[in-house]
Symmetry: C2
Subunit: 193 residues, 2 copies
DNA sequence: GTCATATTATGACACGTGTCATGGAAGGAG
DNA sequence: CTCCTTCCATGACACGTGTCATAATATGAC
């Protein structure tokens, strides 16, 4: 286990979600991780692509884990509660650490979803992992799988958009707005189909 | 009226929404616009910041105009119809021109919403202009202004997130999903408050 | 015509980028 | 000890970046 390697991946994720992929230089990452400069070349022979690829996968894992932790936080889990749980983390992030850092997946999407960079696949994998975790949580609440997938798409899309809006406006209001607006729709059992 | 200047702003918007702000170089924009290189310095003494700032404002205007054109496309306007109208343009974009280009506002958010670039204000202005136009359309359908603002936030956030998801997955499915899922909520008059 | 203004041309500067080559230290296995 | 692998140090290369300085040309007013 090499601490330097992990720290680089983590730092890459942090810098990417703050300034974007292109604006994040390898030298910045190395410095941010307090890692020796020569180690980057050693641990990431694939260069920057490999680094940001792993950073995106790490972000996907993190988001998935966060979603999976929801049931332990409440006595009666509901879809709307899960969505609020996802949004809560971002409200905390923004109120405590400011609006500097956004979502790595969104940053990756903006910077390299249009081209055919080798990282696009890992970007897709990160999003899939996350959405899959959300879907599983919904299924655990007896939402039919097919509909759970649709709700997961809706939740993640809305959340990402709200993160974008919140960062531009520098207020968490959009997050609370979408949470309360979406709640009745998410919990309406009448629309299980 | 100088055609070169307008073309540069337009080209900047196109390149930004495809590769992001940082990855878009002024030389690229000049070439894409078939503009003389010396003209950039002449028309944009503020440098790249001024260029992408105007590109973002242009994008906001475009989105606002598109929203305002909705009533002319239908006989009985509804909130859900407006949302479908907004999403339809992106489905057309993606199916006809591929997933290369996303939303300039989202790209601007990812790349420079975290810092204190002088462009952040124009980014905010672009989003405000767009959301204001959507709000006005909702008000025109007799949605109370306060709730119209909340619905506009929800619609734009969800749409942007769906655009992100669609581009990563390279399919328009997320767009159709959020449109059909959000429809009943948007048109439920019971929740006018 | 003259003259001022608007537009374009050209070349360079200082800097940051990702990547590579090369060599040295550290540490465990035999 | 030697040997080998893992890890780190250092310097450089070729290239692209935004910006600027300077001058040439067009355009139109008078």
């Amino acid at each position: 286990m090499s601490g330097a390697r992990e720290r680089m991946v983590y730092s890459a994720a942090q810098l990417v979600r703050a300034r974007g992929v292109t604006a994040t230089g390898v030298r910045d990452v190395v410095a941010h991780a307090d890692a020796p400069r020569g180690s980057f070349q050693h641990y990431f022979p694939g260069g920057k692509d490999q680094l940001v690829g792993e950073a995106l996968l790490w972000s996907g894992d993190f988001a998935a884990r966060w979603a999976a932790e929801y049931p332990a936080t409440t006595r009666r889990p509901t879809p709307a509660g899960l969505f609020a749980h996802l949004a809560r983390q971002w409200k905390n992030e923004f109120t405590r650490r400011g609006f500097e850092r956004g979502c790595p997946v969104l940053a990756g999407s903006a910077d390299l979803a249009g081209g055919d960079s080798p990282v696009t696949e890992q970007l897709r994998a990160a999003l899939d992992h996350w959405e899959h975790a959300v879907t599983d949580e919904l299924v655990r609440m007896d939402v039919p799988r097919r509909r759970a997938r649709r709700l997961a798409t809706l939740m993640i899309s809305t959340l990402e958009g709200a993160i974008m809006t919140a960062r531009i406006r520098r207020t968490v209001a959009p997050l609370t707005t979408v949470v309360t607006e979406l709640a009745p729709l998410l919990d309406s059992r009448a629309r299980d189909r």
